[in-house]
Symmetry: C2
């Protein structure tokens, strides 16, 4: 059985870094509250809310993201039972490709390059998909697990996991 | 219907560039004959035959490869009838990622980032796969088309295409 695991907001935490950069540039408070069901930029003053696009396209943005709690241990555990693939829609951001690969090599060195996929549409042939974006479940015939993130909190039609321990409880 | 199209030796010609680099560094003749069923490095003096690995890992190697004859027009034609995805096992070569994306943007600007996949194992959910490496057909349940390259000339168990015009003759 194969599992596809997303990167941003599932293994890596870009939101934390966005807020740090907004704090540096515009003194946006580090404890910025993100309204459930909204994207981070929708919680910011309108005149700067497209800045995230600039941040995300900078070289280095994805290189030093914090690892989501429990992700490393959980992926290791899943690897004992499943064929684990990391599948990231990285292709939209040219400058993220090397950073994401280097980040994986640092934090998930036990994932072979053979099991890493950078794509646009996630047309992967897997049995389980763990992702925070439901657009990636479109046309997917396996078991989708929606990994909780502020932007998807109002979505009710998918099986949800809030934490990596919950993923293990369901799959191991 | 979806088609996955490989890059190296299908859309882009790395062999031509390998020979140019060997010529520059070791005066290997530019008309080097590659014995059917062998890899390029097997046709070179033993003391330099691992050099290709060094070349392929250099930044820039994949950026200026020649386009295989007829590829641009054929992919455009296929796009009118199919969902075309470019699927390259680029993940083995970190330094190839940006070069390959930039190369596609230059020569195939009509391919959206949503339809580009850089991976290791090609576990893509497509109906037709055009590739020069039969290892990428392992576990594939669709229609594989083996694109002719010197290294695969002795393989007989797959439907073969020698040129892009043959692909169009079969698929359009």
């Amino acid at each position: 059985m194969r599992i596809a695991i997303d990167m941003d907001e599932v293994l890596a935490d870009p939101i934390h870094k966005f807020i740090q950069l907004y704090n540096r540039d515009y003194q946006i408070p580090l404890d910025l509250a993100i309204k459930p069901g909204t994207e981070i930029f929708q919680n910011l003053p309108q005149e700067i809310n497209q800045k995230w696009f600039e941040y995300i396209n900078e070289k280095g943005f994805f290189r030093d993201l914090p690892v989501i709690d429990g992700a490393v241990e959980a992926v290791q555990r899943l690897q004992e039972k499943y064929d684990v693939y990391i599948v990231s829609a990285a292709m939209e951001f040219r400058n993220s490709l090397e950073d994401k690969l280097d980040w994986l090599a640092e934090h998930f060195p036990f994932i072979s390059w053979k099991h890493i996929i950078f794509c646009g549409e996630k047309i992967v042939n897997v049995d389980i998909m763990i992702d925070d974006r439901i657009k990636n479940f479109a046309g997917f015939n396996g078991r989708p697990l929606l990994f909780t993130s502020p932007h998807n909190l109002l979505i009710t039609e998918y099986e949800r996991v809030d934490k990596w321990q919950q993923v293990l409880d369901k799959l191991i």
